[in-house]
């Protein structure tokens, strides 16, 4: 048989039918939805008189609009009436339709892409779609996971399928091993800086190589999460022993004999020797350093201690134009160092970097120091929050002057009202630095949790290592 890559294996296992032009009717195992779009999907299902085909395959989680403070007062604590209404619609209508609802007051509540892996809902070999672009996160466990719009999500819920064009594939081979000073976030920023925001366009990416194999699941979740930021439809890591031991015993993971059958199948989900990819690139994992974005797309990422590039040196006129616009928007000059740039806020959290290891890494930098700018920590889920509090990480943050919040998407997307004031500069562990992403006129620098923590202490954009030398 012709060698197949892991994407092709999962794809062909889910192909219900193929049209002549390559469009595939792809079977969908799980549909992820949040309250930001639930209402629109529910309205469309109602308008089309479509029942939910397989309610147990739908996971509906409250994360985008939920407040990250005053959670104790429940829904009454939601200041904005419309947001409260939409959260309640997800919880009530989801319940009526029989889908798996993880509502605002649920003990498991958190960001969809933190909660599903944590609960063992994400397995290798699944096709997972979500009404959220960061659904690519779930590829970390070897699933084929991608974001879709609400019309497609409605279709997936009504028919358990999606029409998809044949997958273009790409392998990003990361050799060596990440140095201790660099994180998974720095790796994915390095990859995006190299490939550009359109570099993965339309492709399903497999991350492979020794540096990827050495990553924990939490780190792989960070890498796969940001696949969408280079335009890729999905990113995944073929399942291995790290994956299997992460999944074993989680609430929604298969148990007993099912586990054995599942495991035997999961072990087949590797790219065969000689498997073909439409594009392959190699990155030296050992050369990854702490990174930060200076501009308004994720390809505007540089080593955090490097000078801001000069658009005059950019040969491509379109990139040069984008550079100039980004510099003006961010109020920065070519040659300037980010470590000389004063900041107004720090945000630690999101589906990219809101997991326990992220909070540990940030707390390790913060311990015994003081934040010099307002800094905000929102754990990725209540489970993460509880685990962090058992380790007393909350105390480390609070004693350093950080705010310790409840879980949600919060300031990453600003959909719940956690936003910056115009022209405020924020160092964030989230995933997008787009103009106005964190509120009109907001300026965002994307970094790792350790660098975000260091920046809160320094009041400037710095890595943990730079913080040491400056003190």
């Amino acid at each position: 048989m012709q060698p197949q890559n892991v994407v092709e294996k999962i794809w062909s296992r889910h192909a219900v039918t193929r049209l002549e032009d390559g469009e595939t009717l792809l079977y969908v195992d799980r549909v992820l939805v949040h309250e930001g779009f639930w209402w629109s999907i529910a309205d469309a299902l109602r308008a089309g008189r479509r029942p939910v085909h397989r309610p147990s395959s739908v996971i509906a989680c409250a994360d985008h609009f939920v407040p990250t403070s005053s959670r104790a007062s429940g829904h009454a604590g939601i200041a904005d009436e419309r947001r409260r209404e939409l959260i309640l619609r997800l919880e009530n209508e989801g319940g009526e339709l029989g889908v798996k609802v993880i509502g605002m007051m649920d003990e498991r509540q958190g960001i969809l892409h933190v909660v599903a892996p944590e609960q063992g809902i994400t397995h290798p070999g699944l096709v997972i779609v979500g009404s959220d672009s960061h659904t690519s996160t779930h590829g970390a466990l070897g699933s084929l996971a991608f974001g879709i719009g609400t019309t497609e999500a409605t279709h997936a819920m009504a028919t358990q399928t999606l029409w998809q064009s044949a997958p273009q594939t790409m392998r990003i081979f990361v050799g060596g091993r990440l140095p201790a000073s660099a994180t998974a976030k720095d790796l994915i920023l390095t990859i995006i800086a190299r490939l550009g925001v359109g570099g993965g366009a339309g492709r399903f990416v497999e991350y492979a190589g020794s540096a990827i194999a050495a990553l924990s699941i939490e780190e792989r979740l960070t890498v796969c999460n940001m696949s969408i930021e280079m335009g890729a439809r999905a990113g995944l890591v073929a399942p291995d022993e790290t994956t299997f031991s992460y999944l074993a015993g989680r609430p929604s993971a298969p148990q007993g004999r099912d586990w054995d059958v599942a495991l035997a199948y999961w072990k087949t989900l590797r790219s065969d020797d000689g498997a073909r990819f439409d594009r392959e690139i190699t990155i030296d994992g050992g050369a990854v350093v702490p990174m930060a974005t200076w501009g308004t797309t994720l390809e505007h990422a540089i080593p955090i201690d490097a000078p801001i590039p000069d658009p005059a040196n950019e040969s491509d006129p379109l990139r040069r134009h984008a550079f100039e616009r980004a510099l003006a928007y961010m109020d920065l000059r070519p040659g300037q160092r980010l470590s000389d740039v004063g900041i107004d806020r720090v945000f630690i959290g999101s589906c990219t970097n809101g997991r326990l290891d992220d909070l540990r890494a940030a707390a390790a930098v913060v311990r015994g120091r003081r934040a010099t700018v307002p800094a905000f920590v929102s754990p990725g889920s209540r489970e993460v929050k509880r685990a962090a509090e058992i380790e007393e990480l909350d105390r480390v943050f609070i004693e350093a002057g950080f705010e310790w919040h409840d879980s949600g998407c919060s300031m990453c997307a600003g959909a719940n009202g956690d936003t910056l004031a115009p022209n405020q500069r924020c160092v964030a562990t989230s995933n997008r630095n787009f103009p106005g992403r964190q509120g009109p006129g907001s300026r965002t620098h994307i970094v790792s949790p350790a660098s975000a923590a260091a920046s809160a202490i320094a009041g400037r954009v710095v890595s943990a290592a730079q913080l040491q030398t400056h003190l």
Binding site: Y27, S40, D132, F146, G149, T151, G198, G231, P435
Partner: protein
């Protein structure tokens, strides 16, 4: 979905790359139904809701435009369908660019908006012409898959046959999928025999 065949309309030159979904439909509006003001809201309006005079979409010379021409990476970012739906709600039926965000591209097709990919030279020529002759029309013809303007083109573009058919007839995916109900049922029977814990 409204069928789409030919658009003969004013085109507006948005000479930028990386017009992302947060610009197209800012996150703080996602809890509302899409309004004509949503599209590129913070680019078009100031904090008081007054139009930014310098922004090309507010330029009266391009009033009534139904086509946007932009550069690279149009619609990168979020899956929010509002970013695509904001276009027809504001009167736009077509975006021409060198490349698109993948999810946005799919969302356009499902909201009766035609995303057209053309090469750098062609997009550059279109932008130049639209700036030089504000208010000029472009003619987008889906059946023949061409874009033309006075003294420009026709330029051919590609689109998947299935997507083209849906746009031409105003069909949604469900109509097509319903023809495969039996195939889906057969697939499920086999699939859940192999993976019963997923059922």
């Amino acid at each position: 979905m409204t069928p789409l065949r030919t658009i003969d309309a004013v085109a507006v030159p948005l000479d930028e790359s990386n017009v992302d979904t947060d610009q197209l439909a800012p996150g703080r509006f996602l809890m509302r139904s899409v309004s004509p003001e949503l599209l590129l809201h913070d680019r078009r309006f100031d904090a008081q809701g007054k139009p930014h005079v310098g922004f090309v979409l507010n330029d009266p010379a391009y009033a009534g435009a139904q086509i946007i021409v932009a550069r690279r990476n149009f619609g990168i970012g979020s899956s929010r369908e509002a970013a695509a739906l904001a276009l027809p709600t504001a009167g736009f039926r077509c975006v021409i660019a060198m490349s698109f965000g993948d999810i946005f591209y799919g969302n356009c097709l499902r909201n009766g908006v035609l995303p057209i990919v053309l090469d750098e030279t062609t997009v550059g020529a279109l932008l130049q012409a639209l700036r030089a002759r504000p208010g000029m029309h472009l003619v987008v013809d889906l059946p023949s898959q061409t874009v033309a303007g006075e003294g420009l083109g026709p330029f051919a573009f590609a689109i998947s046959p299935a997507r083209k058919q849906c746009l031409l007839e105003g069909l949604d995916d469900a109509a097509l999928t319903d023809r495969y109900r039996d195939a889906i049922a057969a697939f499920e029977a086999n699939y859940y025999r192999a993976f019963p814990w997923l059922a």
